[in-house]
């Protein structure tokens, strides 16, 4: 199982906040910016106009085939764990039609998440040691 973490997401200045499990994927790498992919249900709950959002150019799948990616807009996101206070960081939310929340490489690093044992789903914050690795959250899919 890959690494899944609990996150809270909100729009800057917005009152609506959503909680979800997010998958860490270092193969999701678009330029030098933090991106989070949202499923439609969460995008709409945050008030984004999915169909009216512009397409981002130049994004492809692993085979180099062009992918239609919609740029929703900026969000604030933080990791939610019961034993630690975490900070909000900003990312660009995108929509592809996929049913889960996905964190890209830059955002993962900005959230200070280190996938320590990806096959086992064990991770830690970058300021934590190897003892007491954290277990992944339950995966969530919005179909």
């Amino acid at each position: 199982m890959p690494v899944w973490v609990r996150v809270a997401i909100r729009r800057p200045g917005g009152s609506e906040e959503v909680a979800a499990s997010a998958k860490v994927n270092t193969g999701f790498t678009i330029g030098p910016l933090p991106f989070v992919r949202l499923p439609r249900a969460l995008a709409e709950r945050l008030g984004f106009d999915v169909e009216g959002s512009p397409l981002l150019p130049g994004i492809a799948d692993a085979a180099g085939r062009s992918l239609p990616v919609r740029q929703l807009g900026p969000v604030e996101i933080r990791i939610v764990v019961p034993d630690k206070e975490t900070s909000w960081t900003r990312a660009i939310a995108i929509y592809t039609g996929a049913p889960s929340v996905l964190l890209n490489d830059v955002l993962t690093e900005e959230l200070r998440v280190v996938p320590e044992r990806p096959a086992s789903g064990l991770w830690r914050f970058s300021d934590e040691g190897l003892e007491g690795l954290r277990r992944s959250a339950e995966p969530e899919y919005y179909r």
Partner: protein, 47 residues
Amino acid sequence: MPEEAREREEIRFYADTMEGELPPEVVEELKKLLEESRDAGVGEGGH
């Protein structure tokens, strides 16, 4: 729907690996968006 188009729909739906280099002007625009959202936001403090 042709087989190839159907396959593309599947790929669009499930692709988790996404790669790309955005055009410089798009990167700048997104950086600006992030920067502007800092002003709209309620801060970076802990929860």
